[in-house]
């Protein structure tokens, strides 16, 4: 078939970009420094520091995903309600920060949150004592929400805007009030968008080390930071790979869980 010929670049891409890296991570993950087979790199997740970092990572990732969700759903609804192409502009405004470099955006929050930063200066004007805003879990959640919010809004807005207005009219026609229409028709039909939004925010939030480095100042250690340090500072690729494999299992498990909620039977990411 002609299709097969065209597929070959993609097959090469998949082999080079997915299969080989995963295989090498699996290889390193189950190997000791002197080349022997081991489970140590995997079970290392249960060490006190690691399990604490994993717990904190999960907590912060869940928190920032929830905040994104709480912001994005009403936002998408408001956008759907607005008329005459205004929503195109609104989406544009929300996406605009994404055009800026990711590191720059996060650095901007450093400037805002610093002890001598913009927010504390404003507080000072009102005679309020400066707050310790940087290097806290809160700062990291804020940074993650700011960086990842567009990835929540876009899929949800996409799904919401495709809901047929006649369905909403039909629900009203059958006697439902606004609340019922929302809970029984709009929200269930938004689930696919919510699922992919959660996926796109939760995974990078769980594995990030840049945001926690920049806004946590090394005081908040996430699992991403530990893995990064194993690769860069300690040059221990074996432990780094082992912990990465554990993270992958966490992510796969959370995806499977999420897909259970997507009853409309759309395409799943796994």
């Amino acid at each position: 078939m002609a299709n097969k010929k065209w597929a070959s670049p993609f097959i090469i891409w998949i082999i080079a970009g997915t299969v080989i890296p995963i295989l090498s991570i699996i290889y390193y993950g189950f190997t000791t420094r002197d080349g022997g087979f081991t489970f140590r790199n995997i079970t290392a997740i249960f060490e006190h520091d690691h399990i604490q970092a994993l717990g904190l990572s999960l907590g912060l990732a869940i928190a920032s995903t929830l905040v994104c969700l709480i912001l994005a759903i009403p936002m998408a609804m408001i956008l759907k309600g607005s008329k005459f192409g205004k929503e195109g502009f609104m989406i544009f405004v929300f996406i605009l920060p994404m055009w800026m470099n990711f590191l720059l955006r996060t650095m901007a929050w450093q400037v805002l949150l610093e002890r001598a930063g913009v927010i504390n200066s404003i507080l000072g004007i009102f005679g309020l004592p400066p707050q310790e805003l940087m290097n806290t879990p809160g700062a990291i959640i804020l940074g993650m929400v700011y960086d990842f919010l567009p990835f929540m809004i876009l899929p949800i807005y996409n799904t919401v805007s495709k809901i047929d207005d006649h369905l909403i009219e039909a629900a009203y026609d059958l006697g439902a009030n606004k609340f019922t229409v929302y809970m029984r028709v709009i929200l269930p039909l938004t689930v696919p968008g919510i699922v992919s939004g959660i996926t796109m925010v939760f995974i990078p939030a769980l594995t990030t080390f840049v945001i926690s480095n920049m806004l946590g100042g090394g005081k908040v250690n996430l699992i991403g930071n530990i893995i990064e340090q194993e690769f860069t500072v300690n040059s221990n690729w074996y432990l780094g790979s082992g912990l990465s494999l554990v993270m992958m299992i966490f992510i796969i498990a959370s995806m499977l869980l999420l897909n259970k909620f997507d009853k409309t039977g759309g395409q799943s990411l796994i």
Binding site: H166, Y172, D173, L174, G175, T180, R184, V191, K263
Partner: protein, 361 residues
């Protein structure tokens, strides 16, 4: 029959586009009313105003004597079957049907019985647990009907519900709708652009164009006695020829005078310019020279039951459309005769208002 719905002086515009202009419409209890017209004539907007999905700019909507203009759709005692069915894709068939009943807080047993009854009524017994995407177009259509009628509305609004079905299914559903209406004993307001649908099913047809009602009447009245050139042209095929009244019950077309049954009794004065409407099946073919007009057949199509022919007349510039059971060869010269009772005389548009009401010819 008692009056159930009255639209009073309804106007509606979208921007500069006036969709409805001072519309007046009355729907009686237990009537099958069809709003018929080409797309953009305002029929769907009228239905949506009755359903509460659009607010009229001016005018009031009365239901059973009460003003319901400001009531939202969920407070109105009527239900709608939407053009694309608008079934909830995330619910099963029975969940769809139960939606309105659950919202109004009916008991589980009542809901269960109602679903069963409704599915039986639309001939889809045993479909309770199907998903919507497992249904064919015709089945979805029936479920949409079932979902609306379980709420026991006094009026069912149907927005071109048969538009997406193929011809055979559409004809079946026409019978089905008439049967349903009889069994339920409620009022149907049906919107369509298909004149055949309108004529087959309705008690009353309301022909609309450009936001105005052109004519209201029984299907027979609409077909046999169109009030203006638009109705005549929209309902079935017709020959519409400009003419002049010569005397009472005598009209002249293209220099030929012949008797008709309209005259001073219904407001046609001698000397007045009129439109003459003749249905193609009412033109009788006679030997050449023995009819009112003479002409040459320029084309012939076999339609199934009859032949359809175009005839170029000799008396003036006009091409006649004829329907006849007998075959006549292209090129043959014939005479044409029309019985006086089959000639429909219509007023020419007089002023702006009437001009807007009629088709440009």
């Amino acid at each position: 029959m008692a009056e159930l719905i009255r639209l009073e002086n309804i106007s509606k515009s979208y921007g500069d586009n006036k969709v409805l202009d001072e519309l007046e419409l009355t729907v009686e209890e237990n009537e099958f009313v069809t709003l018929l017209g080409p797309s953009g004539c305002g029929k769907t907007t009228t239905l949506r105003i009755i359903g509460g999905f659009e607010m009229p700019d001016e005018g009031r909507v009365y239901f059973d004597g009460k003003d319901i203009t400001d009531l939202p759709p969920n407070m109105r005692p009527l239900n709608t079957v939407f053009q694309n069915y608008a079934l909830f894709p995330h619910m099963s068939v029975s969940e769809n049907i139960a939606f309105g009943l659950k919202v109004s807080g009916k008991s589980d047993q009542y809901i269960k019985d109602k679903i069963k009854y409704a599915l039986k009524l639309v001939n889809l017994k045993g479909f309770e647990d199907r998903r919507i995407n497992q249904l064919s177009g015709g089945q979805q259509q029936r479920i949409a009907m079932a979902r609306a009628i379980v709420n026991e509305p006094r009026v069912l609004l149907l927005d071109e519900p048969l538009g997406a079905l193929d011809l055979k299914l559409r004809q079946e559903m026409q019978y089905e709708l008439v049967r349903l209406k009889k069994e339920l004993g409620i009022t149907f307001i049906f919107v369509t652009h298909d004149q055949e649908e309108a004529l087959t099913m309705s008690d009353k047809v309301v022909v609309m164009n450009n936001g105005y009602i052109q004519q209201e009447g029984t299907p027979e009245q609409i077909y046999n006695e169109p009030e203006n050139a638009f109705v005549a042209d929209f309902i079935g095929d017709s020959n519409i020829i400009p003419g002049k009244m010569i005397a009472d019950k005598l009209v002249e077309v293209k220099g030929v005078q012949f008797p008709c049954i309209d005259g001073t009794d219904n407001g046609f004065k001698p000397g007045q310019r009129v439109d003459v409407v003749i249905r193609p099946e009412d033109v009788e073919i006679r030997p050449y020279g023995e009819g009112l007009f003479n002409g040459t057949i320029t084309s012939k199509l076999f339609i199934g039951v009859h032949y359809e022919m175009l005839v170029k007349m000799e008396e003036g510039k006009f091409e006649w459309l004829l329907q006849n059971y007998d075959e006549h060869e292209v090129g043959s010269k014939i005479g044409m005769y029309v019985r006086p009772e089959n000639i429909q005389i219509m007023h020419k548009p007089q002023n702006d208002y009437e001009k807007r009401m009629s088709l440009e010819l």
